[in-house]
C-alpha cells in the first residue's frame, strides 16, 4: 500500500468523465487536468455533480464513461485503497465503533505504521479537539464530527486530498483558522487538494485554480482573479460573486477600447475583456466597482446617470444599495463603511460611475439571470 502511496505521483487527469444514474446524467463528459501540488477548488450549485466527481476520483463510484489518470497511470479501475488519495466525506462517514483516536489512526495503521500516537495527536491538535480523543463519534456535535473527518484524511498526507465541503459546518472563525492550516499543510507537504466548497471567499483565497461546475459540466476554469475579473459566461459572473449585467451594443472602437451603448449612455470597454461574438453584448460590472455620487458631484470614468436609490441595507463592513436606472433595471452597489459619512437614503437621485478597466462583456444572448438562482426548468431534462 505504501508502494501505491509513494509511486504514481503526478498530475490528476480526468478525461471525458461521465456518470449517469439511469436516465439522469450527474457528470457529463468532464475533462480537466489538475497539476500536482496545486490547490484546486470545485464550485457549483447544489446538485451539479461535485460530490459525484470526487467519488469517481476516489474510486468509490465507477464512471459510466471516461478515464482518470494520476501521472502516467490510468487509475480508472484501480481499487480505492490502492490510490494515494484520501477523502473528507461530505457526510463525514466516521466509524461508529471506533473512538475518535482510532478513527484518525485508521489509515496510518493500514499502512503498517506502528507508532501512530504522535501523528494522531498532532492531527487532533490541528482540529482543536485533543480532549475528545476517547469519545465515540455519536457523542460529538456536527462541527466536531466534521473536524474529525478532516483530521482522519489529513493525517495520512496523501498525494491527493479530496475535500467535500470539509468546513461547511464550522463557524467563520474556525473555518478561517482551518483554511490557514489546510493551506499551510498543502504547501508544506506538496499535497494536491481538490476542494469542494460553497464558501466563495474560501475558494478565492485558497485555490490556485477554480473550476465552476454547472449541471455536470465545467463552465470556466482559471485563477480566482481571472474568474472574478473576467468571467466568460453570465453563469460564472453571477455565481462567483455578484454582477450587474446590462444589455448593450458595441457602437465603435477607440484604440484598445470599444465604445458601448447602454440604453443610450456611452461607456468604454477593454477589447481583451470581451467574450462577445457580435455587437450585441451584456456589459458586466461588479457591484463593489461602482461608486455612487450625488448628482452635483463630478464623476470620472464610465458614468451612468439618472439613478434613484431604491433600497439601502447595512451589512457591517459595507452598505448595499439598489439603484433603479432609467431603463428599469436595478443595479446593485456596495459601498464600504469607512468614512463615517451619512449614507445615501432611499429616493435620492444619484449617478453611478466606475473605472472602464473593470468592465467585462459577455455574449448578448447569454441569460443574464443564469447562476443567480437554480432554474428548475433547466433541470427538468431528466425523467
Amino acid at each position: 500500500m505504501s508502494d501505491a502511496a509513494s509511486s504514481a505521483r503526478g498530475d490528476l487527469g480526468l478525461s471525458h468523465l461521465t456518470k449517469s444514474y439511469g436516465d439522469f446524467t450527474a457528470v457529463n463528459d468532464l475533462s480537466l487536468i489538475i497539476p500536482k501540488g496545486s490547490f484546486f477548488a470545485l464550485l457549483g450549485p447544489s446538485g451539479c455533480g461535485k460530490t459525484t466527481t470526487l467519488r469517481m476520483i476516489a474510486g468509490l463510484e465507477e464512471p459510466t464513461q471516461g478515464t482518470i489518470s494520476l501521472g502516467a497511470t490510468d487509475i480508472t479501475y484501480t481499487k480505492p485503497y490502492q490510490r494515494p488519495i484520501n477523502t473528507v466525506f461530505q457526510n463525514y462517514a466516521l466509524f461508529p465503533h471506533l473512538t475518535i483516536f482510532e478513527n484518525i489512526a485508521f489509515g496510518l495503521r493500514r499502512r503498517g505504521i506502528k507508532d501512530v500516537d504522535d501523528a494522531v495527536n498532532k492531527a487532533l491538535d490541528l482540529v482543536e479537539l485533543p480532549h475528545l480523543a476517547q469519545r465515540k463519534p455519536t457523542q460529538l456535535s456536527g462541527g466536531q464530527q466534521q473536524r474529525i473527518a478532516l483530521a482522519r484524511a489529513i493525517v495520512n498526507r496523501p498525494a491527493l486530498l479530496l475535500l467535500d465541503e470539509p468546513l461547511g459546518a464550522l463557524d467563520l472563525k474556525l473555518r478561517r483558522q482551518m483554511q490557514i492550516e489546510l493551506k499551510w499543510i498543502q504547501k508544506e507537504v506538496g499535497i494536491t487538494f481538490v476542494h469542494v466548497t460553497h464558501d466563495q471567499e474560501e475558494a478565492m483565497t485558497m485555490a490556485d485554480t477554480i473550476a465552476v461546475m454547472n449541471e455536470g459540466e465545467i463552465e470556466q476554469m482559471g485563477s480566482p482573479a481571472e474568474l472574478y475579473d473576467n468571467p466568460k459566461t453570465a453563469f460564472v459572473a453571477n455565481f462567483l460573486g455578484q454582477s450587474n449585467l446590462i444589455k448593450g451594443s458595441i457602437t465603435g472602437s477607440d484604440g484598445a477600447n470599444q465604445i458601448v451603448d447602454l440604453f443610450g449612455q456611452k461607456i468604454s470597454l477593454q477589447k481583451d475583456r470581451s467574450h462577445a461574438v457580435d455587437n450585441s453584448i451584456l456589459a458586466g460590472i461588479r457591484p463593489e466597482k461602482f461608486r455612487i455620487s450625488r448628482l452635483e458631484t463630478s464623476t470620472s470614468g464610465n458614468v451612468l446617470t439618472g439613478g434613484k436609490i431604491e433600497d439601502v441595507s447595512y451589512i457591517g463592513v459595507s452598505t448595499q444599495y439598489q439603484v433603479l436606472m432609467p431603463w428599469g433595471q436595478e443595479l446593485m452597489v456596495f459601498e464600504q463603511n469607512d468614512d463615517g459619512v451619512a449614507p445615501f437614503s432611499v429616493g435620492e437621485s444619484v449617478n453611478i460611475s466606475w473605472e472602464p478597466v473593470f468592465t467585462f462583456a459577455l455574449r448578448g444572448d447569454d441569460d443574464a439571470e443564469a447562476g443567480t438562482e437554480v432554474n428548475p426548468e433547466e433541470d427538468l431534462e431528466e425523467e
Partner: protein, 264 residues
C-alpha cells in the same frame, strides 16, 4: 398525580417489557421451582422441598450423558453453521452475482420446511448412504437447520451497514481484507454473535429433527420427551434451570467485562 402519570407515560414500554418477560419466564420459574421438589419418580405434584436434586444433578440415569451430547452437538453445529452461514450472508449481502435470488430462495427453503419433513428426509438419505443415525448425522442435521437462521440474522445486520463506512475504509488504504476485518466485521460482529447464540439455542433445544437422526444417542430434549411417559425426574428441572442461569451469567459477565474495559 401529574408526575405519576408522566412517569407512567415515560415508562409504559418498560412496564410492558417487564410483563412480557414475566410471561416468557413463567414456565422457567415453574421448572426452577420444581427442581426443588422432593418428587421421587414423577415430578408432577409438589411433595416438599429438597436440595437433593441440586446436590446430585446427574442422579437420574442418562440425564448427564444426554446433556453432554446436547452441548457437544450444539457447539459443533454452532461453529459450522455460523461459519458457513456467515459466508453465505456476506455473499448475498455484499455482492451482486448471477443466481443471487435463487440462492436466497434455497437458503430460505430449509426454514420453510417443517422440521418433521427435514428430519425424515435426511434420515432416509443417511440410510441410503449406509450411514447410521447417531452423533455426526445429528450434527449435520443441526448445521442444516441452523445455517438458514444464521444467514438471515447476519444478512440483516449487513444490510443495515452504511456502505459509506466501507468506502471510507477503502479510501484510507484498507484493502478488501482489511476493510472487512477492521470495519465490516466489527460492525457486523454483533449480528454474528447473535446468530451463533441463536444457532446454539436452536440446536440445544431441538427435538423433532434429532429424534429422527440420532438413533439411540440421547440428547437433553430427547431425554425429556422419553421420560415424559414415566415422569420427568427433577434432575431434568435442575439441568434446565442451571442452563438457563448459565446462559444469563455468561452474558452478564461478558457485559460487565466489556464495560470495565471501556472505562479503564
Amino acid at each position: 398525580m401529574n408526575t405519576l402519570s408522566r412517569w407512567f407515560g415515560r415508562n409504559l414500554l418498560r412496564i410492558y417489557a417487564v410483563v412480557a418477560f414475566t410471561y416468557l419466564f413463567i414456565p422457567v420459574a415453574y421448572t426452577f421451582a420444581f427442581s426443588f421438589n422432593d418428587s421421587g419418580k414423577s415430578n408432577l405434584i409438589w411433595k416438599g422441598f429438597t436440595w437433593a436434586n441440586w446436590q446430585n444433578p446427574c442422579g437420574a440415569p442418562e440425564v448427564c450423558t444426554a446433556l453432554g451430547n446436547s452441548i457437544k452437538i450444539g457447539l459443533l453445529a454452532t461453529i459450522f453453521s455460523t461459519i458457513l452461514g456467515t459466508m453465505i450472508a456476506f455473499a448475498i449481502g455484499r455482492h451482486k452475482f448471477k443466481g443471487r435470488s435463487s440462492t436466497n430462495l434455497l437458503i430460505f427453503l430449509p426454514m420453510a420446511t417443517p422440521e418433521i419433513v427435514l428430519g425424515a428426509s435426511l434420515l432416509s438419505l443417511f440410510l441410503v448412504f449406509q450411514i447410521n443415525p447417531g452423533f455426526w448425522p445429528t450434527v449435520i442435521a443441526h448445521v442444516l437447520f441452523c445455517m438458514s437462521f444464521v444467514v438471515v440474522t447476519v444478512k440483516a445486520r449487513i444490510a443495515s451497514l452504511d456502505p459509506r463506512l466501507e468506502q471510507a475504509a477503502m479510501d484510507l488504504y484498507a484493502n478488501e481484507r482489511e476493510t472487512f476485518r477492521r470495519v465490516t466485521l466489527p460492525l457486523v460482529a454483533p449480528g454474528i454473535a447473535a446468530a451463533a447464540l441463536l444457532a446454539f439455542s436452536l440446536s440445544f433445544d431441538d427435538f423433532i429433527i434429532t429424534n429422527f437422526n440420532s438413533g439411540t444417542m440421547t440428547t437433553f430434549p430427547k431425554f425429556i420427551y422419553t421420560s415424559a411417559a414415566r415422569g420427568i425426574p427433577a434432575q431434568a428441572n435442575v439441568i434446565g434451570s442451571a442452563m438457563f442461569f448459565l446462559a444469563l451469567a455468561i452474558v452478564i459477565v461478558g457485559q460487565l467485562v466489556t464495560r470495565k474495559r471501556k472505562v479503564s
